[in-house]
């Protein structure tokens, strides 16, 4: 079975999930909880956008490193990456809402903060005006989102063309160049994106490690999502070419990047906790005092589960264990996304309830619908690639 068929059963399930999301959104809006609904849209929007972005990044890494093992999984990564335009749209809705003051996610967009005669005047935020002003912010947002989308489409298009026309060595070299350009651009812009869209929620606060932390978070979510979709496809009789060694390698990625995420999270936390400078420590104060248990729980889930359960070789090859860990840490990283936005916008009023979970399910439904739809548009394993043969024989102990 080379060609994936998107069954009606899955379609109905995903449309059902989207319906849940729509109901949750409407409930949020009409019960007068606008701020909560907008925040929730940003939490899930960023989470699923990040997964698509991480998939493009991983395609780039595999091309640049000339890695052979992942070639049979390339189409799954591409499928996930093709959620990018939809994720962009979901983010843009929130950005437009913030710009037109329909929501108040970005506190610094309030004009009165910059007016010395106003009672709302904020000297710290006014000092950030050369960087954090609407026109410049929008230029950066459009540049970043535009170029990321462009690269996504280029990688996808080239992959489809290569299937048709062959000439694998030519595409191999061209993809290497494209990936190198993309990775350099991505390396800088992921930081700019995380400052602009996430760190500026807590406008007074700053952290130099923040970009790395966000990057490792989307990376692990992306890998886990691709792994879960691969396991699903294999279980339904597709992707026969993917063997235990490929799954083992994906398991290693989940294990390794979970550690990277924990390492960066902790590095950021410990330095701020130790130095105890008021302007830095506010970020963690609101999170620990008002959300203490769930906040620590999120960190522990994202660290302990992959560490304990994915330590041994056999576990990394066991689809059941991988699915269990995958689902748990995917939720854990959604929680991470929750803590990026909620305490900054809602202060101590944030909850995890119908609106947040419902909208997450809705976005998940949309995400899976788009990804599964994209998977049907090309053979599940690339037909022609310079390293395809090596990938088919991939074997590690």
């Amino acid at each position: 079975m080379d060609q994936f068929t998107f069954t009606d059963k899955s379609k109905k399930l995903f449309i059902g999930l989207i319906a849940v999301g729509v109901i949750a959104t409407l409930y949020g809006i009409f019960s007068g909880q606008g701020a909560r609904t907008w925040t929730s849209a940003m939490i899930s929007g960023w989470f699923f956008f990040g997964i698509a972005l991480a998939a493009v990044f991983f395609i780039g890494v595999n091309n640049a490193a000339q890695a052979a093992w992942g070639v049979v999984l390339k189409r799954v990564f591409e499928g996930v990456s093709m959620f990018m335009p939809y994720g962009t749209l979901l983010l843009l809705i929130v950005f437009l809402g913030a710009t037109f003051h329909w929501n108040h996610i970005y506190h610094w967009m309030d004009k009165s903060l910059y007016d010395p005669s106003s009672s709302h005047y904020d000297a710290i935020i006014a000092g950030k005006e050369p960087y954090l002003n609407l026109p410049f912010w929008w230029i950066r947002a459009i540049l970043l989102l535009g170029v990321w989308n462009l690269f996504t489409f280029l990688f996808r298009k080239r992959s489809l063309v290569e299937d048709q026309e062959g000439k694998t060595s030519k595409w191999f070299k061209k993809n290497l160049t494209l990936a190198a350009i993309f990775l350099v651009f991505f390396g800088y812009t992921i930081h700019i994106g995380s400052w602009d869209w996430i760190m500026s929620v807590d406008t007074h606060w700053f952290s130099t490690l923040f970009g790395w932390y966000i990057f490792s978070g989307i990376w692990v979510s992306g890998i886990v999502m691709v792994l879960l979709i691969t396991i699903f496809l294999k279980k339904n009789g597709y992707l026969k070419e993917v063997n235990d060694s490929h799954i083992h390698d994906m398991g290693k990625w989940v294990f390794a990047i979970s550690f990277l995420w924990t390492y960066l999270w902790f590095s950021q936390f410990m330095l701020i906790w130790y130095s105890d400078i008021p302007e830095e420590v506010t970020y963690f104060l609101v999170r620990l005092e008002d959300y203490g248990l769930t906040f620590w729980g999120m960190v522990l889930i994202n660290f302990i589960f992959p560490m304990i359960l994915l330590m041994s070789k056999d576990m990394k090859r066991n689809a059941g264990v991988l699915t269990f860990v995958g689902v748990i840490i995917l939720f854990g990283h959604w929680m991470d996304s929750y803590f990026l936005f909620t305490p900054g916008v809602m202060k101590d009023q944030g909850v995890i309830g119908l609106v947040e979970i419902g909208m997450m399910l809705g976005y998940l439904g949309l995400f899976l619908f788009v990804v599964f739809n994209q998977l049907t548009k090309a053979p599940l394993v690339v037909k022609k690639h310079a390293l395809l043969e090596e990938s088919l024989h991939h074997h590690i102990n």
């Binding site: 410990m270 906790w273 130790y274 130095s275 105890d276 330590m311 041994s312 070789k313 074997h395 102990n397």
Partner: protein, 182 residues
């Protein structure tokens, strides 16, 4: 120190080595070991080498390191000599845990890494300065050797040599090597 005499076949390519081993094994000859300058893909499956338990040892060493680090930090920083660092007086372990995590982590890694290396040396008896056990100096460079015990195969040495000659072998020789140091 015990020494034993073995029969060796030398190859100049890793794939020829694996093919050679498969060939002599198909004749019912038990291959004792193989020597290679680098890890050869699939060689351990052909030789039937058991999966290493070094990972389990590493885990236990790491756990030991973590426990030692926690006990030591608790004694140094809480019990014996509490200090006020950056406005954080160390009166209990739990409240100062974030500051101790780097040391706990580093000591875990230190114990696991050194434990693994030392275990590896002990298991293989390959401490620095030990006499070499490989049959031919070129097995550390660009040649590959297969090792067969002349006894215990129910064949004469001539038959074993003939079986090796049917493969792409470049040299056949007999040599004593150290099998046990103690």
């Amino acid at each position: 120190m015990t020494k034993e005499k073995y029969l060796y076949g030398l190859y100049n390519d890793d794939e020829l080595l694996v093919d050679g081993i498969k060939h002599v094994q198909s004749k019912g000859i038990k291959v004792n070991d193989a020597y290679s300058p680098f890890p050869v893909h699939g060689l351990e499956d052909v030789l039937g080498i058991k999966w290493t338990r070094l990972a389990i040892a590493a885990f236990l060493f790491g756990l030991t390191g973590l426990t030692l680090a926690m006990l030591a930090i608790n004694y140094f920083m809480i019990i014996d000599w509490p200090m006020n660092i950056g406005g954080k007086p160390s009166f209990n372990f739990y409240e100062n845990l974030p500051a101790f995590v780097p040391i706990m982590f580093e000591f875990t890694v230190l114990c696991a890494a050194h434990g693994m290396a030392i275990t590896y040396f002990f298991r293989n008896m390959t401490f620095p300065g030990m006499p070499a056990r490989n049959p031919h100096p070129r097995t550390t460079d660009d040649h590959f050797a297969v090792e067969i015990s002349p006894e215990g195969n129910g064949m004469s040495v001539e038959d074993l040599k003939n079986a090796l000659k049917e493969t792409e072998v470049v040299e056949i020789f007999e040599k004593e090597r150290i099998t046990k140091f103690v």
